[in-house]
């Protein structure tokens, strides 16, 4: 038995039926970590092996009704874990041990999950390829010389290589969906406020969404049932009820579903990046046809203001970053401000500038107005359609180092994902095939609080295509 071949749902069923034990799952995770971690640079901290096995043993001996009983799960290193080092992928926090668990971590533990360790990421989640990590880039599970996608780079490769059954992640401008698309995984970004941000190191507070990467839609739904809900420690969480999302995936076709497509949305991305990768575009088109063939009605929708979304995003996001990073003032946490990497400094400078008196109206305030217009675009579109279909990125996973000196090129990776964060709506990336052995993803975007519907629609496409069954060819270089 190898974790790489199991979805979370299958593993859970196996443990519940007695087919295998949590100890087997954890051992497999640890084996894969031992084999691949050095090569792919996935984990920044792995929990003590004895501790993990003892937790698994306890799970095996206890009640199996807990929603994630005995399931090895890993966390992006933004999630505060009590007494377990939490670095945000940044040197500034390389020795920081939180005194408390993030709400999501607490919920996962209470649900029976076993926290394997903490995953590599772009420092402070600033990036779309994982290359901004102060601890080196994470390699793509499907091709060692390509990026895993970011900022949740470790989360993607950990799940793809069976080092954990699922991984938590955060999505501020596409940081879950891009690595999902690059790594043949389901990358889920909930409605802003659906999942508590408490204890998760902030990037841009008004945009940060707390989600996860999994092999399947059902897995994604299962995790959300555990993590979602109102949190008295996060004033921005919503009060909508949390169903058992995974139990509601009954739909077998897409009859009666209206899927919106916005040619201008896609054109904007293509234009900004001097043309979308044609092979990628072909795959995306193929996926849309598949959705149509499953019974969905494809409807053209207009999203005119998305053309300004990326510009607005790269003002709002750095503005909040400049404020959120101010607490790392060199007095506490053990490291000086000289430890900040280039991208963090870049965002602090852009943000401080956008907020400074005399420039505030021209930059921050204008960006907020654009944000409202982008939100209205989506609201209008969702009067016509159930979900909007879009590519995830305009390009295939780049080679490691390919764009490292071109921050603009890295910002453009987010062009199809950023509008979703500005609007605060939920979205997911789904595996949609391969180009030259590298994964391709598609994106489904829903209205606020439409997680259930998104999962249902995504699940039909997934079951009809089963791309998740294509496993990476693992590099064995040690």
């Amino acid at each position: 038995m190898n974790l790489i071949d199991l979805t979370l749902t299958q593993a859970l069923a196996g443990v519940r039926s007695g087919k295998f034990k949590s100890v087997d799952l954890v051992s497999s995770a640890l084996e894969n970590i031992a084999k691949y971690n050095k090569i792919y640079n996935v984990f920044l901290t792995v929990e003590d092996e004895k501790e993990l096995l003892s937790q698994a043993k306890i799970a095996d001996e206890s009640d199996k009704s807990l929603p994630l009983v005995g399931m090895p799960i890993a966390l992006k290193d933004l999630f505060s874990t009590k007494n377990l080092r939490t670095t945000a992928g940044a040197n500034v926090l390389k020795k920081y041990r939180p005194v408390y668990d993030a709400t999501v971590v607490r919920k996962l533990k209470q649900a029976g999950a076993i926290i394997v360790g903490k995953l590599n990421q772009d420092a402070w989640a600033h990036g779309s390829t994982g290359e901004n990590s102060d601890f080196g880039p994470t390699a793509n599970a499907y091709n060692l010389s390509h990026v895993a996608g970011g900022s949740s780079s470790g989360s993607a490769t950990a799940v793809a290589l069976g080092m954990s059954l699922a991984a938590t992640a955060t999505d501020t401008g596409g940081s879950i969906r891009a690595p999902g698309a690059f790594s043949n995984l389901v990358g889920f970004k909930p409605t802003y406020g659906r999942v508590s941000r408490y204890g998760i190191i902030a990037m841009a507070s008004s945009l940060d969404s707390i989600g996860h990467l999994t092999k399947s839609v059902a897995d994604s739904a299962l995790i959300l049932s555990v993590t979602a809900g109102t949190d008295p420690y996060d004033a921005t969480t919503g009060t909508a009820e949390v169903p058992n999302y995974q139990d509601l995936l009954k739909r077998t076709d897409l009859k009666g579903v209206k899927v919106g497509v916005s040619p201008e949305y896609i054109a904007i991305g293509a234009k900004a990046t001097h043309g979308m990768d044609p092979k990628l575009e072909e795959k995306v088109e193929e996926a849309l046809n598949k959705i149509r063939s499953l019974g969905a009605e494809i409807v053209e929708v207009s999203l005119p203001y998305t053309k300004a979304a990326l510009e607005a995003y790269y003002i709002i996001c750095p503005s909040e970053v400049s404020s959120n990073l101010a607490r790392y003032d060199g007095i506490r946490f053990g490291q000086g401000r000289d430890q900040f990497g280039a991208e963090a400094k870049r965002r602090m400078m852009i943000g401080a500038y956008s907020l400074s008196s005399g420039y505030y109206d021209a930059y921050y305030k204008t960006a907020q107005k654009i944000r409202s217009l982008v939100s209205q675009d989506f609201a209008k579109a969702f009067k016509e359609v159930d979900v909007v279909f879009a590519p995830v990125t305009p390009m295939m996973p780049p080679k490691i180092g390919e764009n490292i000196n071109d921050p603009m090129a890295l910002y453009l990776v987010d062009i199809f994902t950023v509008p979703v964060n500005l609007a605060g709506v939920p979205a997911l990336s789904l595996p949609a095939g391969f180009v030259d052995g590298l994964p391709v993803g598609i994106q489904l975007i829903g209205p606020h609080w439409s997680e259930q519907k998104l999962f249902e629609i995504a699940n039909v496409y997934e079951q009809a295509t089963e791309w998740f069954k294509t496993k990476p060819k693992i590099a064995n270089k040690t």
Binding site: P98, I201, S205, P232, A235, T236, A352, S356
Partner: protein
């Protein structure tokens, strides 16, 4: 040539720590005075990575109630903002405050017959405290975060003060209102009420209005008591007046008051003025206060000092002086009213009770109003005694004290008191004026 007229122009920013049980954005106890350092802290008020602020509803309600008490308009929509600046006592690198949408605007306080306009009342969080000390012989600065995140309400006036007396009266009145609302002890010595005046001097005759204010102002910090406030203002007014007399224009700057030396010293000049890069706090959703909600809070307001004083004057026929003293605190005013109620059953007038309370400095905490009335009544009780009985008693007293009687007849008037006392010993409660009359008659 006529002498130049110098008019001090003063505006005030007053910070008041709210006495809520928990802090502004977390569940830690807000009480920090004299506590073990860093014993009232959590991830939120320590600004640990990932921690989020959740606003204290009571602190918001209390701030609105203060705004209502000051006659302010309550904002229908309000929000918190981040004020970004670096200081070691500010763990997040920003203070959660309110910038362009304060909870309350446009109020007033009348002092010495003058209206002082209140520009705004807003809510923010307090900072931690630095302790400069020595550890193992080395100078060190320690941070105590117990105060970090304590709710702080800021009341800002327009530059409407022209005299220190008005400033003094305003501060006392604001403190009185805050104490009436029971939202803070507003104790300047303990730092739960802090004052930052802005001072400038206008030259020339004619009234100074919003349109012809001087082109500079000096902000004063580090004022820890009403007394310091007077000293600091006096010093600053003369410092600026002297500069103007020399033909200089004082600089726009922030100065710190040094009470020990009796001077203010430059802290920050205009050039070093900080850009706080305010922006809406994304961790806290904007607030909405519908009319009905504000009305509900209005109903929770106690009777405020000005109204109470008027009522005391009208209902109890008290002079304004008495009414003002009795209304100094809510406790004293309540005590008086309870005493009046009990007293009415004993034909005691409110004025008589007021006199007792004001002149005899009654310990209202230890003596119940009913007990007070009892002792007032007893002291005034005149036993009805027949004139025959009085005469008999006096005859007996004269018989028993021949020496005293002889002394009196020899011109020692002091003995009269002794004889009166002897009468009172035999019969308590007899009106002393009556006894005195009879006694003088008997003694010839």
């Amino acid at each position: 040539m006529s002498e130049t007229k110098f008019t001090p122009i003063i505006g005030l920013e007053v910070h008041i720590e709210l006495a809520t049980e928990s802090k502004m954005f977390c569940g830690c106890p807000a009480d920090h005075f004299g506590m073990t350092p860093n014993s009232h802290t959590c991830p939120v008020c320590l600004g640990l990575p990932g921690a989020l602020p959740v606003p204290n509803k009571k602190a918001i309600e209390w701030s609105i109630m203060l705004g209502l008490a000051l006659g302010c308009t309550i904002a229908e929509h309000s929000k918190f903002d981040r004020k970004n600046y670096f200081y070691p006592d500010l763990p997040k690198g920003y203070q959660i405050s309110q910038y362009d949408e304060p909870l309350c605007v446009n109020g007033k306080i009348v002092v010495n017959g003058k209206e002082i306009r209140i520009r705004r009342v807003h809510l923010e969080e307090d900072t931690g405290k630095l302790q400069h000390t020595e550890i193992d012989g080395k100078k060190a600065t320690l941070v105590d975060f117990n105060r970090s995140g304590v709710p702080l309400v800021e009341v800002v006036t327009e530059p409407d003060f022209r005299t220190i007396e008005d400033v003094d009266a305003y501060l006392k009145k604001l403190q009185q209102i805050v104490r009436y609302l029971a939202i803070s002890l507003a104790d300047m010595e303990k730092g739960s009420m802090r004052l930052e005046p802005s001072i400038s001097i206008a030259l020339g005759d004619g009234e100074v209005t919003d349109h012809n204010l001087p082109g500079y102002r000096v902000e004063l910090k580090n004022i820890n008591s009403f007394r310091f406030a007077r000293h600091a203002l006096e010093y600053e007014i003369s410092r600026q007046t002297e500069a103007l007399t020399r033909g200089e224009v004082p600089q726009q700057e922030t100065r710190g008051w040094n009470e020990a030396k009796g001077i203010s010293v430059l802290q920050r000049s205009k050039e070093d003025a900080q850009d706080y890069r305010y922006f809406p706090e994304p961790d806290i959703p904007p607030m909405h206060f519908p009319f009905e909600e504000v009305e509900k809070l209005k109903k929770r307001l106690p009777e405020l000092p000005d109204v109470k004083i008027l009522r005391f004057i009208n209902d109890y026929q008290l002079p304004e002086y008495d009414a003002s003293i009795l209304c100094e605190t809510r406790d004293l005013a309540d005590y008086f009213e309870q005493a009046v109620q009990v007293g009415s059953q004993h034909s005691l007038t409110p004025k008589a009770i007021a006199n007792w309370l004001i002149n005899k400095k009654i310990e209202i905490i230890t003596i119940l109003p009913a007990e007070l009335i009892k002792s007032v009544v007893e002291s005034r009780m005149t036993t009805k005694v027949s004139s025959e009985e009085i005469e008999n008693i006096i005859t007996e007293v004269i018989k028993l004290n021949p020496k005293a009687v002889a002394d009196f007849k020899n011109g020692n008037a002091n003995v009269l008191g002794f004889l009166l006392g002897q009468v009172a010993k035999i019969k308590r409660g007899v009106d002393s004026a009556v006894v005195k009359k009879y006694l003088l008659d008997k003694l010839g």
